[in-house]
Amino acid sequence: MAAKVLLIDDDSDFRIAVKTLLEGQGYEVLEASSGHAGLELLLQHKPDAVLVDIMMETTVEGYGITHALKHRDEYAEFRNIPVFMVSSINQSPDERFPMSPEAEMIRPDWYLTKPLDSSALLRLLERAIGTSKGLVA
């Protein structure tokens, strides 16, 4: 069965491009244009990896999702899903919230900058999904 990737980004062009790339590699891609819609899809479809933009409608949406997945009890069963946080601004949570416990709370598994390097993304996804499935099994 094809691995499922949930893509959460408010820029439809970015989603189209990345979706095409991933589908070309045999992934099934779910799309959401907001954090809220993303969490709903997540509960319904249990994807194998999540790619989420940081700066959407509100600047914290991407962080909110990561926090939900990694720390909130309602999402406990998704804790091992690898989360890729994506932003066009080269600022990891550690840089954005220096010396703050918040950085720890919202640290994704991977932090990537836009535009995404296609080869690097595919390599990372394959590895991350492989590892997380290995852990779950």
Binding site: V18, L21, G24
Partner: protein, 385 residues
Amino acid sequence: LSGTTEVAPPETVVVIDDDYAMRLSCGKILAKMGLRAESFDSGARGLEGVAILKPDMVVVDLKMPGMSGMEVISRVHELDPQIVVVVITGYATIDTAVEAMKCGAYDFLPKPFSADELRLIVNRSLERRRLVRETQRHEIERAMLTRRFVTFVAHQLRTPLVAVHQYLDVMQRVEQSPAKQHEWLVRCLTRIEELQDLISDWLTLARVESGALLRERVEVDLNRIVRDLLGTYQQIAAGQGVSLESSFPEDGLRVCGDRNCLLVLFDNLITNAIKYNKRGGKVTVTGTFSAGEAVVEVADQGIGIPEKYRPYLFEEFFRVPEERSIAASGAGLGLHIAKRIVSEMGGSIGVESEVGVGSVFRVRLPGAGGETGAEIHAEAHSDCR
């Protein structure tokens, strides 16, 4: 963090003097001034007090047994360089005063001194302390704002670029039908146009903000501006099933200002009215002269603006969330620029709106003083855009 309401605590002054009578009288005067005063009888104990109390000001006697007043000054400033220190000296020679200042004292008080003299110097010292803190706070705030703005701008500029980059990158790797390739190229071009518009908007805003508008004032007929704009957008509007109408006084509607800025102003209002209209809707631009003012209304029959968003409508980068689904492009600068242009010209802009019915943007500008038919100057030299 406790969640209680924060009440500004009284400012604290630490008095360090080995003379009991001096400590007592200083303490009384300071307390009467509404300050929190704490006294210590030696330099060493005084420093401990300073470390714990974190006072705003220290009054210290220069001549004490044990640690000298001079040493106290530098040790206080090791703890916090912002604490204002005033020295009390019994042998007020210029030399000791200068030395104390060199050590970082703000001022000195020669013995004997009156209650008034103490009050005066304390007030002046605390005032200085407040100023320093205020300046510091402003600097920090400004630095934060600048950083936030720079981050935001970088994000705004990068978003369309990233989309184009991602498309091209994927096109290079994934084999696609010519039709798909064409579709993607069109999308790339749209995003590049978005970037171009954003940059022009910013430049316009920068020019409006620099006050270029005040330098270039010619008499401009708003009727002509609106007519030209409606002509330009006729086809685009028709493509969206929107019709355009205007009604102006027969002899025009004249204001004094920069023609290009006025063009930008009404361009922004009219394109919004088209973009957020409904199919089959109408855009009506009405110009009237009322009480010395040129009043132009741009009305649409579109989605309307929910009341809760109206206060933010003219703010930089604000976009009504519901609009995003209608038109992807737009940086949220159009109405902000409109407002800046109008206020630079001494006018005002407002909006009335009903959700699902439409919005009316009303611009009021000072009229061009009634001399109808006045010569219209060359309009080509404007530097607004």
